[in-house]
């Protein structure tokens, strides 16, 4: 059963990721990224991480992807134009990707002592997780909340309307 679930959802995951690369319209890419994220949530559940599976659906597939689709629709992003890209990406980038993938795959396939995952493995409960999070790792948790606050302020400062310019953004694009 575990094998079946793994094959199905790993397949969804890879299909979504490849579709993200092939689609030329950003909204199609965003929808295939949602497929990738939801299948990853199922894989997390198979590995016994129930809290992360739910958080993946809520935070990634929910909040972040809603933000992405919202921005795509707000900016009315159209079909991207295909260009050849930079020469550096072609000559250095792709060989480097292949080399890194080959290296990681070799290391993983030769690694000793990697176990197996079964459905009967048991689940890390949210209680267990939160005990560690709110005792040992309380300071990083609070620091992250400050980070989120700064991110909110930064987003508002960057994307908010410039009040000193009463004519809005149409004026600013025209002036250069």
């Amino acid at each position: 059963m575990h094998l079946l679930f793994f094959i199905v959802f790993a397949g969804f995951c890879l299909a979504g990721a490849i579709n993200l690369l092939l689609q030329s319209h950003p909204i199609n890419s965003a929808l295939s990224l949602i497929v990738v994220m939801v299948s990853l949530a199922v894989l997390y559940l198979l590995l016994g991480a129930e809290f992360l599976a739910i958080a993946q659906v809520i935070v990634y597939a929910g909040a972040i992807m809603v933000l992405f689709t919202f921005v795509i629709m707000l900016l009315n992003a159209s079909r991207e134009e295909r260009t050849l890209g930079s020469r550096v990406a072609l000559r250095v980038g792709f060989p480097a990707v292949v080399a890194i993938l080959a290296l990681i795959a070799t290391v993983i396939l030769h690694a000793q002592g990697l176990g197996v995952a079964r459905l009967s493995d048991g689940i890390t409960s949210t209680e267990e997780l939160s005990k560690v999070l709110f005792t040992d790792l309380l300071l990083p948790f609070e620091v992250t909340s400050v980070l989120i606050l700064i991110a909110i302020l930064g987003a508002v400062a960057l994307a908010g309307h410039d009040d000193r310019n009463p004519h809005g953004d149409g004026e600013r694009t025209g002036e250069k």
């Binding site: 793994f6 490849i18 894989l43 935070v59 990634y60 890194i100 040992d136 990083p140 991110a151």
Partner: protein
């Protein structure tokens, strides 16, 4: 049927899937020509790395690996908010999302 139910998956398959997802993210970063899609490729890379964190947490029965993924998610949420705000600001100044046309740091 019982033999089918008790089938197990080697953890190296999960790690391989995570490596492939990361590489697809890098390829997307290199070939996509739309600013938003490039940003989505970065999210794909983050997700690939998260999968290997969860796999290793399962391997060593360590809760802290899962908590690390939780932190990565929070930082990714903050990064997405700031990144998309920057994309909106760039679009306002340039009226384009094509990365080939955005060649100056100055807004």
């Amino acid at each position: 049927m019982n033999a089918f139910l008790s089938q197990e998956v080697p953890l190296s398959w999960y790690l391989l899937l995570s490596a492939v997802l990361f590489s697809l993210g890098v390829v997307g970063f290199l070939i996509k020509r739309n600013l938003i899609t490039v940003f989505m490729s970065i999210e794909l890379m983050l997700n690939g790395v998260n999968l290997s964190f969860v796999t290793f947490a399962h391997q060593w029965h360590a809760v802290k690996g899962q908590i690390f993924v939780f932190f990565v998610m929070m930082v990714a949420a903050a990064e997405a908010a700031v990144g998309l705000a920057i994309i909106i600001a760039v679009f306002r100044a340039r009226a384009t999302l094509a990365v080939d046309r955005i060649d100056r740091m100055k807004l």
